[in-house]
Symmetry: C2
Subunit: 341 residues, 2 copies
């Protein structure tokens, strides 16, 4: 069934049945000109993210449920990486009038399942006809206690740099789709593609980290580790030293890198879409934090470098001890002039 066969209001009616609408502080959700909310918490966090067909997702690669899940996850990840709890979301969808109603319903089911898991209420949105491909804009509001907020600007000289899980997996997954001639074990290939279309949610880890009081700054890795790390350095006015041999690289990324003849550090530093957490923490207590995150979530938090007071020095120390300049070579839309080596 096509969208133009049932009309906009019928489509909205069907989608409304799929999503969770109730939550703490929701006075009125969908059905008026605005959502009416009684925002809890000291401070509110607000983020928005676009998911565009052919840019952020490939319809032949992922199921609509997976596309919906990831679109919401990228927003929840922004809230979590500042130490917050997501509460409410709006969904703005534009699609061609011959889009499949069943496909759109499955997209919303993916969003709804992930929203229910983290108690997020969908309180509003928008559907529009568009002559172009599908585009989904999700916006999320959350809360954070003032004492637990983690900004990009909080890193200080002497802090250690930590990262959750392994990095570069999602990037390699996408690369393997665009370069199908690369010879790599099919199981490795599938695992990497799964990391791209179905990234881990790090909300529980973010909660443990923010409640510990040990972290000083945090960001989620959406553009790529090097780009996102430089955001922290720029905001905090610090330098950084990263050790190539300490980067947490999965066996799959190593295997894929060997097949391509490329240093796996490239994928680990430049790859976005992992949605891992990149954080800085106090030197004295970071080991306790690593232990705590492992115990409470099973996720490995790994030290990969140190924050320095040399503002303009951002370096990557190679296994031979030589330093390279760390550039913002993570994914960038409309690549312009890069400040990389």
């Amino acid at each position: 069934m096509r969208v133009h066969e049932i009309g906009e209001f019928d489509l909205i009616h069907r989608l409304e049945k799929i999503i969770p609408k109730k939550g703490e502080g929701v006075v009125t959700g969908i059905g008026d000109d605005c959502a009416v909310l009684r925002m809890p918490g000291d401070l509110s966090l607000w983020t928005t993210d676009s998911t565009i067909e052919g840019v952020h997702f490939l319809p032949f690669l992922a199921t609509p449920e997976q596309i919906g899940r990831k679109a919401l996850l990228s927003n929840l990840s922004d809230i979590a990486s500042m130490g917050g709890t997501p509460l409410y979301a709006t969904i703005s969808l534009s699609m061609p009038s011959d889009a499949s109603v069943e496909w759109i319903e499955r997209l919303y089911e993916g969003i709804a399942e992930h929203a229910r898991k983290y108690s997020v209420a969908i309180v509003g949105g928008n559907t529009s006809m568009s002559p172009y491909g599908l585009r989904l804009d999700i916006s999320v509001l959350g809360k954070v206690p003032e004492s637990q907020i983690l900004m990009r600007s909080g890193a200080g000289s002497g802090d250690v740099v930590l990262v959750t899980g392994t990095i570069g997996d999602a990037f390699c997954g996408l690369e393997s789709v665009f370069n199908p001639t690369i010879t790599v074990d099919p199981e490795v290939r599938n695992t990497l593609i799964q990391r791209y279309i179905n990234p881990f949610s790090r909300l529980r880890e973010a909660r443990v980290i923010s409640e510990s009081g040990i972290a000083t700054a945090m960001i989620d890795i959406s553009d790529g580790l090097s780009s996102d790390l430089l955001h922290i350095c720029d905001s905090s006015g610090t330098g950084v030293e990263i050790y190539a041999s300490d980067l947490p690289i999965s066996d799959e990324v190593k295997s894929f890198s060997r097949s391509c003849g490329i240093n796996p550090c490239h994928y680990a530093l430049a790859g976005g879409d992992d949605y891992g957490l990149l954080l800085t923490a106090k030197q004295e207590t970071y080991e306790f934090l690593i232990q705590k995150v492992l115990e409470e979530t099973g996720t490995v938090l790994k030290k990969i470098g140190n924050i320095t007071d040399q503002k303009n020095s951002r370096s990557l120390v190679m296994p031979d001890g030589k330093s390279k300049v760390l550039g913002a070579d993570g994914w960038q839309h409309f690549p312009g002039v890069y400040s990389q080596e």
Copy 2:
């Protein structure tokens, strides 16, 4: 200059300089994973709206500044029509990589000027490359005192139905663009097109109305008077009786209608994009409200009908006294089956 020549980060940097970033309660705006806000007021209002090239705007018809202004206006209108005050906005933009940087800057200047006028801070957003046309998603957060909130569900039997200004002008403007062979005075045509690309902002009127305590329900006319009126009736569980001869129709709409050989009521009832206010108010005091809005804003508020307790009776009384069924024949995306006569 094209967007791909300067890169995403440089574009964001340029756009950041254009927009107003500070406002009451803004702890951190653009520059972190989320905006951090200390929401003022009892209740928060949240709305989001899409503006898509070829659907919501025609680049050959309006300047980028006008497109930006209207995109923000449609959101502020949603906040105002519930009795609220807009506070913060996010802007999510997707565009082809060969889009003109100057055009995008002018679009943001249009948004910025309207935002400054109503003290709205731009606290976040997103820019993405897209193989398709330009799409702008603006989301706005506002505040409202609990005692002044105006929901769609507040109308009661015996209330009068009121509307600001004249209606149908924007629709006729758009019709005259798509039907250039219709013979109509060029000045009339220009006025109508102006109403489409540059609709009146009714924020001051909405403020006077909500503070009066006389209105019982309110909505902004974005889909068309009949559609939006039926939203009020559906939410309030009431019927309605509208008098065709009382519809406030401008001389320009009358002139355009004559040229087309169409009853001007059609344009007044079915036309969206006017962003006028449609409200219900108490029978005993509505005349005082009309007087107050006129005195404080210069805008005419006109009575066009009455709310009835006959839930399933929504009628349009014609000048000859005969009644027609009032249908939701306002603008609907993906038109499906209409319940109109």
